[in-house]
């Protein structure tokens, strides 16, 4: 039997083939040491225990957030032999292990992002009142999705929900959720609000929502965001980066839309109040008409009283000029041939005069005409 002789390149290829077949994907848990990021892109570190140390290599893109030496993490990756740099595990995802480590990692990320102003209150945008379209990023068959939709249906109608079904825990969760956020933000008709939610779980289950890429995607969304992760007590960095945080999926639905039962009562009150407003306007208008009528009638009464007074005094005046009154007082009206005599020039001697007194007429002949003076 001939001995098998490799070239170095062939040997590397053969080893990699073997590794790929035997260990397409490995999960290794250990303590980080010699953590290093090169050119803001390449990440190197070792995982070690008391007896061994293994090299890891990958990109910052696959980091959950800032890490440091001494943290215990679980890394998913593929072992390979590099033609020049030797053996390493190419990591795909890293997750701190245990509540303490997860919290430490989240604290590191919080500090980093807070320094960038990602959680600043002035970044928060108001959510639209009564949205007509909602982008919903969650696990479609989860209790969280069921709770959210149930409460939304109970409270309000006419909303279109665009549901992006994603993993909300595990290795693939951050990438899927980030893709969903970016996809919905890229739609030609974007929904009015973006809801990202999942129900309660262990710190490890909720860890995806403390992933740096996900937190940044939430902060970068041009659609206002509402994030509700876990129970009341859980606060993830995604929630802090959101425009609004809800304590639970149920609470998210409550914050988004009003309750139609309550709204119906409000409408009934509005109806009543507008009706009363109109009635009071009508009443006022009626009162105004009444006031004007009274004013006019009072004015008319005054007018006619004045008129009557005028007539009465005129009548008195007229009476004063009545010739009959003069006749009664002893004056006489003298006429000749039907004409009143106002001057001695009108009469001649022996002419026949008619002298009218109050109670009759005297016919007389002119005997003599004497001129005054």
């Amino acid at each position: 039997m001939q001995e098998l002789v490799f070239t170095p390149a062939d040997f590397v290829a053969a080893i990699n083939q073997t590794l790929e077949f035997a260990y397409p994907s490995v999960i290794i848990e250990g303590e980080i040491s010699s953590f290093k990021v090169s050119k803001n892109r390449w990440v190197y570190f070792d995982l070690k225990d008391e007896e061994a140390s293994v090299r890891f290599f990958g990109t910052v893109y696959s980091l959950p957030g800032p890490l440091e030496d001494g943290m215990t993490v679980r890394v998913v990756g593929s072992p390979s032999l590099h033609a020049r740099f030797g053996f390493s595990v190419n990591f795909r995802s890293i997750l701190p292990v245990g509540e303490g480590e997860l919290k430490k990692a989240a604290d590191l990320l919080f500090k980093k992002l807070a320094a960038e102003g990602l959680f600043a209150p002035e970044r928060k945008r108001p959510l639209p009142a009564i949205p007509q379209t909602i982008g919903l990023v969650t696990a479609a068959d989860s209790a969280a999705a069921a709770d959210f939709n149930k409460i939304l249906n109970e409270r309000w109608g006419g909303v279109e929900i665009l549901l992006a079904d994603v993993y909300v825990q595990g290795e693939q969760a951050p990438t899927q959720i980030v893709q969903a956020i970016e996809h919905i933000n890229g739609l030609s008709e974007i929904p009015e609000v973006l809801v990202i939610t999942r129900g309660g779980g262990s710190a490890e289950d909720l860890a995806a929502f403390n992933n740096e890429r996900l937190v940044r995607a939430v902060a970068a969304s041009r659609i206002p965001t509402l994030v509700a992760i876990g129970h009341e007590v859980d606060t993830s960095l995604s929630e802090l980066a959101a425009d609004l945080r809800a304590s639970t999926p149920t609470n998210a639905a409550q914050l988004l839309v009003p309750d139609k039962k309550h709204e119906q009562i409000v409408l009934a009150n509005v109806r009543l109040s507008i009706q009363q407003s109109l009635e009071s306007v009508q009443k006022e208008a009626l009162q105004e008409v009444k006031n004007q009528r009274e004013f006019l009638s009072r004015h008319l009464t005054n007018l006619s009283a004045n008129e009557l007074e005028k007539i009465r005094s005129t009548r008195k005046l007229v009476k004063l000029y009545d010739p009959r009154a003069l006749l009664k007082r002893g004056y006489a009206l003298v006429s000749v041939n039907g004409k009143f005599v106002k001057s001695i020039a009108q009469v001649k001697t022996a002419e026949r005069l008619s002298i009218k007194l109050a109670d009759g007429t005297i016919k007389a002949n002119v005997q003599e005409i004497l001129k005054d003076g």
Partner: protein, 66 residues
């Protein structure tokens, strides 16, 4: 109605209703205008109540994987 083809959203109707209520509260009100506004408000209220009783939510699943 001029814009009968596109139904108004509840939010729009709600805003219009609010404007009418503010108008009624502004005082110095003309009765003809008041009757017109009242009819407008009644129509809005009818539509809003109908919306509350009949509108349903729709869920559309979208694919977001790259």
């Amino acid at each position: 109605m001029a814009n009968a083809e596109k139904p108004k959203s509840y939010r729009e109707m709600s805003q219009q209703l609010e404007e009418i209520m503010e108008w009624f509260e502004s005082g110095d009100i003309d009765i003809d205008e008041a009757i017109k506004k009242y009819e407008e408000a009644t129509k809005l209220l009818d539509e809003m109540e109908k919306y509350l009783k009949t509108a349903e939510n729709k869920i559309k699943k979208i694919s977001t994987a790259k």
